[in-house]
Symmetry: C2
Subunit: 169 residues, 2 copies
């Protein structure tokens, strides 16, 4: 077990997830998918998660937020890379807090901790994506000083289209 | 040296970059920054690149495209992670071909190779971002079957704002 990390909120502590947290992480991802109205895209199970996050080739890290000893949120992040800076950054794939625990500053504490991790690891950036209809989150991010990359759009190749292209090589 | 990888275009071969390619990669990134009209954001030098790409903690990989034996383009990519799929993907941070070598199918060969790498590594997705004014690239990506994530915007915390937030923890 990694140590609990104290925060400015007395009831709130953070910790890095361990292999035995795979089921908990899955539950939190399911709650997030529901909130984002994307449950139909959620196909992960505890076994694939366990292999991907805690197996030999770990590509991502998970931070768990506990309030009064109970898990209430998580952040999943990995390192990306800026060619223009010539160094890595941190990309937050998910940041989620159960609805009944919002408005207490938990998200800000998690982001501040991740900013500190980024600075300590000599990363040049902390980035994440937000759904355009999530105005509450957008206002919060802007107050923290985050800037939207409005001139960029992400393109995705997945499923059959990815298989098709791979066979063309 | 890693072996050259043959492609469907007789003059074109691909290879994974090695440490001695740091200066070449820097030149190609500079050419890309110029094309993207973002030269003012380009602060990487060969030493930071060498450390980040070929040091102990490698977070990204670089593919070099050679045409008739000369380097004409590159792709820099790293692994991202989809919580909904529960497994990694490949994110292409940069894909660049020198202007005078465009229109010969080099970009398609590079993307097809990266799609194959993604499938072989059991990744669920191949993703990248494109500048909204780059309609030529967008048309090309759409023909390959890539879908734009139009409902998402990336937010970035960098420089002083990142330092400020890190100190709040």
């Amino acid at each position: 077990m990694t140590a609990n990390i104290k925060t400015k909120i007395p009831e709130l502590s953070l910790r890095f997830a361990q292999e035995q947290d795979a089921e908990l992480i899955l539950e939190l991802i399911r709650a997030l998918a529901e909130f984002e109205k994307l449950s139909h895209e959620m196909v992960a199970d505890a076994d694939t998660l366990r292999r991907s996050l805690f197996g030999r080739q770990r590509v991502a890290e998970v931070l768990i937020a506990e309030y009064a000893g109970s898990p209430v949120g998580f952040a999943l992040f990995f390192h990306n890379f800026s060619t223009f800076l010539g160094k890595p950054g941190i990309y937050i794939e998910d940041l989620f807090i159960q609805p009944e625990f919002r408005g207490r500053g938990i998200g800000r504490e998690m982001l501040a901790f991740l900013a500190r991790v980024a600075v300590e690891r000599n990363c040049g950036r902390l980035e994440w994506a937000v759904l355009d209809w999530n105005t509450r989150a957008i206002d919060f991010y802007r107050r923290l000083g985050a800037q939207p990359l409005t001139e960029w759009t992400v393109y995705r190749l997945a499923g059959g289209a990815l298989q098709d292209l791979s066979r063309r090589f």
